[in-house]
């Protein structure tokens, strides 16, 4: 064995700087906790995605189809022809760098390839090399690259380190949306079977059973019945919601995660209590049993197919309009695509609150209203009796989900609700909320558990802002209107800011809602004892 001969003074000279190779020449290395498992062949087959096979990112040989380059380049050509935005985004970036430091994955990891401009460049370099004259002639000088297995691996690594959150696009002077470039990257990789298990599984389940978990109608029903028992324990009130009821005025659709995953389940209890209290003429559906759409993380066509059940079920049941639960990507898909894909839904009416008479003109064409809009309107018209002090043990801040804020402009309603059901609310710093909100770090199907290290990196900028209000104002609850946030931020808080819980806004509504005939509440929605209310004598 070689003798260790360095003298202390030499040791002090060790440089820790990573090798300074060009980004185009630094290959990716797949480390545990940093990437997701690959999709199961049977899940891909279920929906007709090609080239399902057993493979892992760590393998040298990804068992690619023989003509994979040809498939990708042809696919790229087709997508460039189909989406003008893609063609534009490939051509117009001036590499000004305004987006470079805006991505939570770059900020948290320090990996330059997570700068949005470089992420896009992964695809753009291949575009230049194959679709532009300058690239074909000048090659490297014009920033062009060949499509090699190494490049493909890089695509896979980095397009699954982008949550399509669109924060970078807010800062780009040309409005280049790197999220859309990632979508194209993922769609291309899908053409040769390179998909994530955490996406492929839910997509197949949703296609077969209507929801990501593959729950059958009786399971959905019995899960909701569990909530009803808890609500009865809490309030003494027995609620009897209806399922698949034809002729109901409103169809309610929510992400299935809230039926099973804590803490989302408490939000679902909040919906049930609110609707009961209002005497709303609504129904759950065990078929349109998923508001979310993981198809959106694979291809446009798949997202459209999975989405089609929502209008179809509304038509079958003959409802007048649709109310949707708290979710992020579900709403991006609904408000930006559903109508174009599967509309016009002219068999329904323009949504009108039966309680306040408010007509939701913003949903005139789509016929679907976000529950935060619906509830904020109720509060505005004084239709709810609320006891804010039941949330006094909570000191709340609000996380804007990328999709509801940047994707649909839902900024005020959740805040308005929170301020009406809670006494203690503190905003996080201005450059981390609203349109500039930081992603939870685990959206777009990256909320698998095997990539936890990656998720913690990406989640740090958000968590850092939470930590600030936690330390400064004693914030102990991170509220949000997204099912994925409820799951992923719980892990993020656990790592970065222990002591801060996570809840949906309608859990807080459920706590505060004074229901007719309810018994005195001694517990909160989680059936935990309500602490003595400060300064209140009659409790």
């Amino acid at each position: 064995m070689a003798k260790f001969s360095a003298k202390p003074k030499d040791l002090a000279k060790i440089r820790y700087t990573p090798p300074k190779t060009e980004w185009t020449e630094t290959p990716v290395e797949f480390r545990e906790h940093m990437f997701c498992h690959s999709a199961k062949p049977k899940d891909l087959e279920t929906v007709g995605f090609p080239y399902g096979r057993a493979w892992s990112a760590k393998d040298d040989d990804w068992k690619l189809p023989d003509n994979w380059e040809q498939i990708i380049l042809q696919g790229m050509k087709d997508l460039l022809g189909k989406y003008r935005s893609f063609q534009l985004f490939m051509d117009i970036c001036v590499r000004c760098g305004a987006c470079a430091d805006k991505c939570h994955f770059f900020i948290g990891s320090g990996d330059p390839k997570n700068m949005p401009v470089l992420r896009a460049e992964l695809l753009r370099s291949v575009y230049r090399g194959n679709f532009t004259l300058a690239g074909k002639i000048l090659r490297k000088l014009a920033g062009a690259r060949d499509l090699t297995v190494g490049v493909l691996k890089e695509w896979w690594y980095y397009f699954y380190q982008c949550t399509e959150c669109r924060r970078c696009s807010v800062f780009c002077p040309y409005g280049i949306d790197t999220a859309e470039i990632t979508m194209m990257g993922r769609e291309l990789m899908n053409m040769i079977g390179l998909q994530l298990g955490w996406i492929g599984g839910p997509v197949a389940a949703c296609y077969m059973k209507g929801n990501h978990l593959g729950l059958e109608p009786h399971t959905i029903k019995s899960s909701i019945e569990f909530f009803l028992d808890d609500i009865e324990t809490l309030t003494g009130i027995k609620i009897e919601p209806s399922f698949n009821r034809k002729g109901a005025e409103i169809l309610f659709v929510t992400p299935s995660g809230d039926l099973f995953a804590n803490p989302g389940t408490y939000t679902a209890m909040g919906y049930l209590m609110l609707f009961h209290e209002l005497g709303l003429d609504y129904t759950w559906s065990t078929y349109a049993s998923e508001g979310g759409n993981f198809g959106f993380f694979t291809s446009n066509e798949m997202a459209k197919r999975l989405n089609s059940k929502i209008y179809a079920e509304a038509k079958r049941l003959g409802v007048k309009w649709i109310l949707g639960g708290e979710c992020g990507h579900m709403w991006r898909v609904l408000s930006q695509y559903m109508d174009t894909w599967n509309g016009p839904a002219d068999f329904m009416e323009v949504p009108k609150s039966p309680i306040t008479g408010t007509v939701f003109d913003n949903a005139k064409s789509m016929k679907m209203v976000h529950i935060a809009e619906f509830t904020a309107d109720l509060i505005k018209h004084n239709k709810l009796k609320l006891d804010k002090s039941r949330n006094d043990h909570l000191n709340v801040t609000f996380h804007d989900s990328c999709n509801t804020s940047r994707g649909m402009g839902l900024l005020e309603e959740p805040r308005y609700i929170i301020n009406n059901v809670c006494n203690h609310f503190h905003e996080m710093p201005e450059n981390t909320i609203r349109e500039k909100t930081f992603c939870c770090g685990s959206g777009t199907g990256l909320n698998a558990s095997e990539n936890m290290e990656l998720r913690m990196r990406g989640g740090f900028p958000r968590a850092n802002a939470v930590k600030y209000v936690h330390e400064r104002y004693g914030v102990n609850l991170l509220a949000n209107v997204c099912a994925i946030d409820r799951a992923t931020l719980s892990a993020s808080m656990d790592y970065w800011v222990p002591g801060v819980g996570v809840a949906g806004v309608h859990e807080l509504v459920g706590n505060a809602l004074i229901m007719k005939g309810e018994k005195e509440r001694t517990q909160d929605m989680r059936l935990e004892p309500l602490p003595e209310k400060e300064g209140s004598e009659n409790v």
Binding site: A12, R15, Y16, T17, P18, K20, R31, H33, A100, D101, F106, I107, G108, S109, G110, D111, P112, M115, T219, S222, S223, F226, G257, L259, F260, A261, N262, P263, T265, P429, N431, T432, S449, E450, M452, E453, M456, R457, F460, P461, N464, A465, Y468, A487, S490, A491, D494, Y495, W496
Partner: protein, 177 residues
């Protein structure tokens, strides 16, 4: 003159050079960002690390108790534990402080008169390294914990339906803890 007084005068320079040691572990573009972006929310990594290092240095110069170092160390190591670096690298920056301090003393040409104080200070720095390793390990173990807890949360109601959830008493805090 005491060693701590001498070093206190040099404190800003030492801190910046020390911070530079950490920055050197990142690629050039990242280094630039971590160093130049002053907004603590836009640049949480740079800010947290810099602030943590400042507290550690201040603590060392003012003779703080060891427990005073655990928060700033945790803040830094928690970040480094989920970045693309080896465990040794995640904590190596603490050792480099010894070299920086010695260099300052060499410049002042008064190394000999401080040798005893210096060795005490260096012992303390060594202890900080050991503390950092513990924190690093806790962070890495936490990653596994997060996975397990998440799976439990995600399927809570399913398990409840299948009667698989039982109430487990949380173990109380240990005595003398």
């Amino acid at each position: 003159m005491k060693l701590s007084n001498l070093l206190s005068e040099k404190r800003p320079a030492i801190l910046e050079r020390w911070f530079d040691v950490v920055l050197e572990t990142y690629p050039a573009d990242t280094k630039n960002f971590l160093q130049k972006q002053n907004n603590q929310f836009a640049n949480p990594v740079g800010h947290t690390i810099h602030q943590g290092m400042e507290s550690i240095l201040n603590g060392l110069l003012s003779g703080s108790d060891l427990q005073e170092f655990s928060t700033p160390l945790d803040n830094i190591i928690r970040i480094r534990a989920v970045q693309d670096i080896a465990a040794s690298q995640a904590v190596a920056f603490i050792l480099s402080l010894k070299k920086l301090i010695r260099e300052e003393l060499e410049k002042s040409q008064r190394m000999d008169s401080f040798i005893k104080e210096l060795s005490l200070l260096e012992d303390k720095i060594d202890t900080l390294v050991l503390m950092s390793f513990d924190i690093y390990m806790q962070c890495r173990e936490k990653i596994y914990d997060l996975k397990a807890n998440e799976t439990k949360r995600l399927t809570y109601r399913l398990l409840q339906r299948a009667n698989l959830v039982c109430e487990v008493e949380e173990p109380g805090p240990q005595q003398n803890d």
